[in-house]
Every structure is written in C-alpha cells, then in structure tokens.
C-alpha cells in the first residue's frame, strides 16, 4: 500500500477536537446549572410514571432477549473486525484469500443460521 503510516502526530488534531467537545459539553452543563432556577419539590424529583405511584425501582431485570442480542453482537462484531484487514488487502491475496475468507464467512453464516433457527432473535 502506498499510504504512509500514520504518525502519532496525526492524532493530535483529534485530541484538539476532543478538548473542544469536552469543553463545550462541560461548560454548557455548568452554565445551565448556574443560571437555571432551582425550585425543588418532592413531586418534581420523583420518577415520572405518567402520574401513577412509582412501584419499586427501575433497576430490575428485563427481558433476556436484550442480553442475547448484546452477546450476539459482541461475537459478530468481533468477527467483522477480522474482515477489515482482509478487505483492504484482498486484491493482493487473490482467489486464495477470497476462498479462505469465504470459509470464514461460511462458518459465521452457519452460526448465524443456527441462531436464527434457535429462534434467538424472535421477538414476540
């Protein structure tokens, strides 16, 4: 590849932008905190549940499906990571590289079909 290696210096501007963004975010929050009115009442500080009495705490277990999605995401996303280097270089690798990646994707797909068949992604 003809492109040069990135030097750490190339990331410096990103750092600058990060500083600006943080500065903006933090300052707005501080400013609103300072200039906004502060009249606290019990009702105002309670959780909003459309006017109904709050029962318990919101921090309790929720549907397992979301965990399943999260777990699947972790797996699939990491597998995708493997494809990035290949995708960038795949022309140099030619058909052999293609077939190897197809095997890899085939396995991924097998897993994927398994997940679907197991109805792990069915929301009902």
């Amino acid at each position: 590849m003809e492109q040069a290696n990135s030097m750490p210096i190339d990331y410096l501007p990103i750092f600058l932008q990060l500083l600006v963004a943080v500065g903006f975010g933090v300052s707005t929050i501080i400013i609103t905190h300072l200039i906004g009115p502060k009249v606290r009442t019990e009702n105002k500080l309670g959780a909003f549940e459309s006017g109904i009495e709050v029962i318990g705490n919101a921090w309790q277990p929720f549907s397992i499906k979301y965990f399943l999605v999260a777990i699947l995401f972790v797996i699939f996303d990491v597998e995708v990571i493997f494809m990035y280097p290949w995708a960038v270089n795949f022309r140099d690798m030619g058909f052999q590289g293609l077939i190897e990646m197809f095997i890899f994707m085939g396995l991924l797909l097998l897993g994927f079909i398994y997940v679907i068949k197991k109805k792990a992604l069915n929301w009902d």
Binding site: L107, L110, Y114, K117, K118
Partner: protein, 458 residues
C-alpha cells in the same frame, strides 16, 4: 491436520443435526466422525514431515498419539453419554460443544506456534464453560460454571502475558524460533524471557490444576455434571499436560535450570495438597477431583525430569489415568442412578449388588493407586523412573509417601463396595456402559501386564 478439520466439521454437523431434530443420528455420526479423525491421524503417522500451515501445527508422533488418546477417550464418554443428557433437551449442543472442546484439545496437542496454543486452550475451555453449566437450574452446576469461567479467563490472562513477554524477547511466536533464540543466546537471554516463562507456568498450571492454582478444580469438578467432569479430568488434563510438556521439552529445554525448581515446588505442593484434601472428602466425586489434583502432581514429574522418555511416560500416565477415571465416573453415574448420592456410602455393598461393576471399579481404583498389573502402575513407574534419572530422590520419597496416602482414599471405595452392606437394590448396567467399562478395564489390565508396545510409541 485432517483430524482437526474433521472434528470441526463434525461439531457443526452435529449441531445442525440437532437443529433439524434427528437426534437418533447424533451418536452414530459423532462416532463415525471420531473414527475418521483417528483414521486421519493414523495415516499421518509415517508422513510427519514438519510443521504445517506456516508452522502453525506440527503433527509429529507425539501429537498424533496424544490426539488419538483424547479422541478415543471422548469417544468412550460419548458412548456412555447415550441417554445421559436426554432430560436436558439440548443433546446436540452438548455433543457439539464436547467435540469443539476436543478440537481445542487436539490443537493443544499439536501446536507449533503460541497462537495455536492459545487458540487451542481457549477453544477447549470456552466450550467447557458452557458444558459445566449445562444444567441451567442446578445451582451447583451454575456456580461451577461461573467459577470455572472466571478462573479460566484469569489464567488465560497470565498465559497471554507470558506469551507476550516471550514474544517481546524473541520476536516470534514460533516454537522453533523461540528455541533458536534460547540456543543462540545462551548468555544474553532477556529478562523478559524469564518473566515470560514464569507467567506461562502460572497460566498453564492453572489449566492443569496444579497447586497453588488448583482451588477451582474441586468446586468445578464437583459442580459439573459427572460426564463433563470425566471429560475435564481426562481429556482436558491430558491435553494440557501434552501442551505443557511440548513447550518445555522442546523450546525451553536449554533453560531447564531456571524452571525445574519452580516445577519441583509446584509438584510437591500439588501432591500434598491434593492428597491430603482428597483424604478428607466424603463425596466420591470430590475425592476424585482432589485426586486429579494429586495426579497432576505426578504428571509434573515428567516435566521436572524432562528427557527422552518423558513424552512416553506422560502418555502412559495420561492413558492409565484416563482409563481409570472413565471407569470411576461411569461407576459413579450408575451408582448415582440408584442411590442418588455421590458419597462413598453410595457404593456400599456394590460387590453384591453388581459384582462385575464392583470389579471394574476395583481395578480402576487400584490403577489410580498405582498397584502393579494395572496401567496406573506403569504410569507411576515411568514417572518415578524418569525422576530418578535426574536423582531427585527427595522428591521421589515425598511422592512415595503420597502414593501411600492415596491408597487410603482409593481403598475407601473398595472397602465400601465389598465390606459394607446396603439395602439398595441391584445396579443395572446398560450395554453402552458395559462396553466402555469392559474396554477400559481390559485395557487397564493389558497395559498393566504388557505395556511394551505402548512405551515405544513416541
């Protein structure tokens, strides 16, 4: 290499068989697959040219022998497992995960590159994390899975740090190149390298369950379903040791003076802690768990006294231990079916309730204890003689004391079976159990009487 591919494909096929609800095919297909894999290994025997796939794996005789052992043991476990997991409703997953884990084990046996060691160990363990917890409602199983997971991942961290340090020192993950580095710079070995070895030792001893990194073993072995325990204490243990020995006998051999003392201490501690804890157990399963710790201690002897015969000795020991363990766990399953208990008392009167099973258990216990004319004796003999080769006489004396302690708790089973009475009914043994028991017992005795061929394998 054919074996690894076969096993991987087999795992997928089994998974999909389960998906398409052809449960009756699961066992035949798996067994067929195993046989094919063994066949591949068999035909590789004379064509061991060198590392394959840019030095990733190397199927030398050592790897082939251990791989066949692992596959064969798994085969036995499969045969026994017929009907064992039916109530779980996820038989295919169970089979498939076991095969995946086995693939990892084969990889650990044959690696020639640290990345393959790492991958192998991880494939082996990640599948097991699930298998240990396969009984979703059983709290013990859950807890075991969690403990195994945390300890496994933790030890992986150490293993990886060690590998990273070795890489930092040598610039390569290849075993040959690491060896070259050690051989070429005998004077100027980087401190990183030594640090790396220590971390590797920590990581790998975690995996083999040697003291002081053993504390997960009893809980996990106890909590897991019996068959999984038997898999863990046979295939996983043997494969881990094969991997350990491969690394230390091939790449790190020239630095023997550095790591031998470490293993020496570990081995002694392992023996004593394992044995003395096993002595105090009232649960047979837990006793086997601790005894497996102590067996790890004996197997470490081969690494302490690494030499021309250590591969053979660790193989003989692993084989004997695996056979006996399978019998022991199979017996436990059968007994648990009628009595519902995993304690020694469950075996009471087995000599009358089922004499053949009692005989098989007796042979297994004697083999574990290392009594002559059983395979276990040959294993212990090989270990002792290899240690003697390097004149670690003190170690040997300690080992002997431990062997005597071990006899006590192994005989506890025999005592229960023959000398105590029980009102429990007869124990029925289905044909699949009988086959495995018969084979294992016969092999144990044959190896015990005539191990010649076995000891010349590698």
């Amino acid at each position: 290499m054919g074996a690894i591919i076969t096993l991987s494909i087999l795992a997928l096929v089994v998974l999909y068989l389960g998906l398409f609800k052809v449960k009756s095919m699961l066992l035949p297909v798996s067994i067929l697959g195993f046989l094919v894999a063994i066949g591949f290994l068999w035909f590789d025997w004379n064509s061991t040219s060198g590392p394959l796939y840019s030095g990733m794996v190397h199927f030398d005789h050592y790897a082939i022998v251990f791989s066949i052992l692992c596959i064969a043991v798994t085969l036995c476990i499969f045969v026994v497992s017929k009907g064992y997991f039916d109530q779980e409703g996820q038989v295919a997953e169970y089979y498939s995960l076991l095969i995946f884990s086995l693939t990892g084990a084969v990889l650990v046996n044959s690696y020639h590159n640290f990345s393959m060691l790492f991958l192998g160990i991880e494939i082996m363990s990640v599948a097991l994390y699930i298998l240990v917890g396969i009984r979703k409602r059983d709290k013990a199983s859950n807890e075991a899975a969690l403990k195994y997971f945390i300890m496994g991942a933790f030890s992986t961290g150490f293993l990886l740090f060690g590998i990273a340090l070795l890489y930092g020192a040598t610039g390569s993950f290849d075993l040959s190149e690491v060896k070259e580095y050690v051989v070429n710079n005998p004077q100027a070995i980087s401190p990183l390298f030594y640090g790396g070895i220590l971390f590797l030792i920590v990581g790998l001893t975690f995996k083999v369950g040697a003291v002081p990194f053993h504390f997960w073993t009893p809980d996990v072995y106890d909590g897991a379903p019996i068959l999984i325990t038997s898999y863990m204490s046979t295939v996983v243990k043997v494969a881990s040791f094969a991997g350990l020995l491969r690394l230390f006998s091939y790449s790190l051999l020239p630095l023997q003076d550095f790591w031998t003392p470490v293993f020496l201490v570990i081995a002694i501690l392992t023996l004593f802690v394992g044995n003395i804890s096993a002595l105090m157990q009232s649960s047979f399963k837990r006793m086997l768990a601790y005894s497996s710790v102590s067996h790890a201690g004996y197997m470490l002897f081969a690494i302490i006294a690494v030499g021309a015969t250590s591969a053979n000795s660790i193989f003989a020991y692993g084989l004997a231990y695996s056979l006996a363990t399978i019998v022991a766990f199979t017996g436990l399953i059968l007994v648990k079916k009628t009595t519902g208990s995993e304690h020694f008392e469950a075996f009471n009167g087995l000599g009358k309730r089922n004499p053949m099973l009692a005989f098989a258990m007796t042979v297994a216990m004697l083999s574990l204890a290392g009594i002559p004319l059983t395979a276990g004796f040959i294993g212990k003999f090989m270990m002792f003689s290899s240690v003697m080769e390097n004149y670690h006489i003190v170690l040997l004396v300690l080992a002997v004391v431990n062997a005597a302690i071990a006899v006590y708790y192994y005989l506890k089973v025999v005592v229960a079976m023959y000398f105590r009475d029980s009102e429990e009914s007869c124990v029925n043994v289905q044909w699949n159990y009988s086959i495995v028991l018969f084979l294992a017992v016969v092999l144990t005795i044959i190896i015990g009487v005539y191990p010649d061929y076995l000891l010349k394998l590698i």
